[in-house]
Structures are given as C-alpha cells and as structure tokens.
Amino acid sequence: MVGPRTLAAAALVLLAVAWHAGHQRLVRANGDRAEGFVWQLPQGFPAPRVPPDNPMTPVKVELGRRLFHDPRLSGDGTLACVSCHDPARAFTDGRARALGIQDNLHPRSAMSLTNVAYNATLGWDDPGLTRLEDQALVPLLNTRPPEMGVAGREDEVLARFAGDRRYRALFTEAFPKDDHPVTLRNVTYALAAFERTLISGNSPYDRWAYGGEVAALDPEARAGARLFFSRRLNCFRCHAGFNFSGPVVYEGSAGPRPLFHNTGLYDEDGRGAYPAPNTGVHRHSGRAADMGKFRAPTLRNIALTAPYMHDGSIPTLAAVLDHYAAGGRARSAGPHAPAATDDDLTDPLMAGFKLTPDERRHLVAFLHALTDDSFVRQAQETGQP
C-alpha cells in the first residue's frame, strides 16, 4: 500500500525531473556552443547549413582564417591555402592548373571559394564530397600530386601550431572540450568554419535583384541578363538560383540531388572521351555514362577567375560563350568534329545557339555585373594573419 506521503514525494521527484529536462542548456555534439556568431548575409540569401558537429563560433572562424593564410600549414612551409585561393581573384589563382608544393602541377584548376558554403558538392567532380570539413583534407593530404604536402608530416606540421602561443590559445578556445585541441581534425573544422563565411552577394546584379536599385545594372548588363535567363540560351538552367551554380544547400533546404554536366569540351576518341585523369565523375564512379561530367560552379565573381573550365583550357569569358554557342567545343573544333549532336554523353541542354556580336558583348557585361567588389576588398583587407 502506497501512502499519501510516498505519492507526494514521487510526484515531487517527477516534477523535478520534468523541470530539469525542460530547462537543459542546448549543447552541441562536441561541446561547443554556437553562441556569439552572427551571419552577415546579403539580402535574399538563406543562412548556410552548418554541420551539427561543427557549430560556428567567432573564435573558430578567426582560427580558420589564420590557418588559411599561414604557409606553415604545408609540409615544407612554402604554401598556404591562400596561395591557390587568392582573395583578389575571388579565391582562385589565375592559373589554368593549380601549383602545389615544389611546383607540382595539379590536373585541375583551383576552384573559387565564393559562396562555397552553399555548394551541395565540393570539388569539380566528386559526388561524395559534401562537407567542407572533409574537403579540406584533400589538398592537405593529397599525394597524387602533392598539393600542400602534409601527408606523412602531420605531426611536424601540427607541432608548429602547438608551439605557437597565439595558435595554442585559439585552438583551446575554439575547441574547449578537447584536452589536446591542436589536431588535424580541428584544423579542418576551423578552415571549414572560416570558408563558410566567404559569402558574396553585393554585385550590381544583387543590387538590382534584391536591393531595389533598378538602375544598378547598366543597359548592356541588363540586356545580357535577359539573354542569360532566356529559353533560347538556357544558361540559368545549370547556373541556377541565387548562387548561379549547380545544386545548393542551406538551412532548411531539402537535400538536393548532386548534378554534373558534360559540356562537350573534349572528344578524344569520337565517343566523347575526356583526357585522363580529368574524366569527371567517371574518375570516381568508373561508369561510362559519367564521362566528362563536372559540377557547374558559381558564376559569382566569374570575371575574376579566368582561365575557365576544370582545366583552365578556355582563357576568356567571351571564349567560354563561344564554347556554349557551339554546343560544346569538341563538336565544332575537336579532332573528331563535326561531332554528332545527339551523343549520349553531352548534356541535352548543350544544344548550341547563335549570338550576334552585340549579344555576346551583352552577356559578357552581365557576367561582369556578378562581380562583388566589396567582397574582394574585404577579403583582401582581412587576409593578413
């Protein structure tokens, strides 16, 4: 028989448990709290999606920013992330193909980091690479060819930061639950947090589209926008949405389907082969149908990122337009040209189109109107360690 006192005591215990459960402080998986970080988003932009295990904090972003600019992060201390991702070039390097330590030439060009937080996949052609935290390991540890040359020298590289008083303090503050916070994992997490802040949305186009400045686009750029979004050219089908890119993710968005396109840039064998090792998604999947498929990068700040395409094989924006107008360079000028226009590999959207010289000029003016000078300026100003 349970007496009234016992019942009352049990009720009090239950109430206490319920009160405690209802007032728990939310703590992230790794013990960090995302307090204190405020996104500074351009008008019309959604908040980037942040992995639950790597919440944004100001100190982590600051640590990532310093690491990004610090050549001590490479094996031989000669290259920093910024060496290939220069803010003045919208975080690219101006080369057709990136250059790693000891002048190792990478098969592909350094990608822009403009709005990288929104990319559904990272890199030119890897459907499985979806987290900046994982992507950061690629240049650090790649050995074919070496990029930053950290593989095999991890302890040596980390010791440089563990031995630096300022870095030690930043790592400790950014990862307060870790007894030994100077780890490769935390390096990549801090880099990812910094990269998520590289948000660009203050171009003339944005001031027109979101800022209420109808005159922000000059007449040539406005005419180019008309062409870019037209059914005749269909540029916006692949360079889509607010980011002028392939699929995006952001806070609250559905998980998008990764999307890659073969634009008919090469046809090495009359059957659409791309030159190895740059065979696109095929490089990862081995599937013949994935030959030559690459991600559509953002066109934001595209005027600053020449030369173009995954291997930097097209020098100017005007020449890029010629490639698309031809329905793919390989169809008009490749060794097997004129190629059939109904092959299985080239994206059906690569139907080709005719451009007058005026239209070509207007499109280039529009692409220039996607340049965000304030983004570049601010990135340069805050770039110094």
Partner: protein
C-alpha cells in the same frame, strides 16, 4: 456427416471472413467530401486551370469566391486565369493578386504570380519587390520569378498555382 458439415461451414465462414478483410484492405475508403463553402468549386477550378481551360476555371473560382470571399487561394488562381486570357484582364488580375495577399500575407504563390504580372506590365521595380518578399517564403518560386523578371519571359507551367486549401 454432421462433423463434415461443420468443417465445411467453418471453412466457408473463415474464407468469407478473410475475403471480406482483404477486400476492405484493398479498397481504401473514399475521402469525405470537403463541404466547406466554395471548396468544391475551387477544386474544380484548379483542375481546369491545370488543363489550361482558363475561362472555365475563372467561372469556378468566381463561384468559389461568391460562397467564400475570403479564400485567398481562389483570388490568386482567379488572377492567373484572368491574366492568361489576355492583356485586357491584367488590371483585374492584379486586383485579385492584391486581394489574395491582403487576405494571406504569406501566400508565396500570389507573390510569384503578381511578380510575373508586374513584369509583363513593365513594372520591373514592383516585380523585384515581389521577388524580394518571395525569397523569404519559397526559394524555388523566388528563383523562378527571378528568371522570369530577368528574361522577360513567362515561367514554364503553372508555377505559382495554389492547390492546397
């Protein structure tokens, strides 16, 4: 003999029971008809709109609004049905989009349709205002409206159709 009859009867009863259960499981009951005022007319209008029979859709949405004048979605779809019947209806279509937004300020579809109409009427600044409002409501519609305003071309299909009510 009687035990055999009993067995046959038992099997018959069991078969009848399971057959009835299987029939019941395989034939989902029809959803109850929504008897709220104007809903039947509204749903009929949506079907006609999807078949691009805009004049008939207009009649249905008008009938829905006669029964329920506060049906924002019907105002939105009526506006579209009117607009698709020609430029002479643009002003009236705009009134209905405005009414839809007055009634339901977060009806993303109405901003989409009104933005397209503003674009077609040459009011780029107003179209961009609707685009701006839409970015906080429905990213997909906002992108479609962005493309429409920038290109000056109507979106494909019925993007902006309000179906749920």
């Amino acid at each position: 003999m009687s035990s055999r009859l009993t067995r046959i009867a038992t099997v018959f009863v069991l078969l009848t029971f399971f057959a009835t259960a299987a029939w019941a499981a395989g034939s989902s009951p029809k959803p109850a008809k929504d008897k709220r005022p104007g809903v039947a007319e509204y749903n009929a209008g949506v079907k006609l709109m999807q078949k691009e029979r805009f004049a008939e859709a207009q009649s249905k949405f008008e009938a829905a609004l006669a029964k329920n004048p506060k049906m924002a979605e019907a105002h939105n779809n009526l506006g579209y049905s009117l607009r698709k019947q020609g430029e002479a209806n643009f002003a009236k279509a705009l009134e209905h989009y405005n009414r839809a937004i007055d009634l339901k300020s977060d009806l993303a579809e109405a901003y989409m349709y009104r933005g397209v109409l503003h674009m077609l009427m040459g009011n780029e600044a107003k179209a961009l205002e609707d685009h701006k409002a839409l970015t906080g409501m429905d990213r997909g519609l906002a992108d479609a409206l962005q493309a429409a305003i920038a290109s000056g071309e109507e979106p494909d299909g019925l993007e902006g159709l309000a179906t749920a009510w």
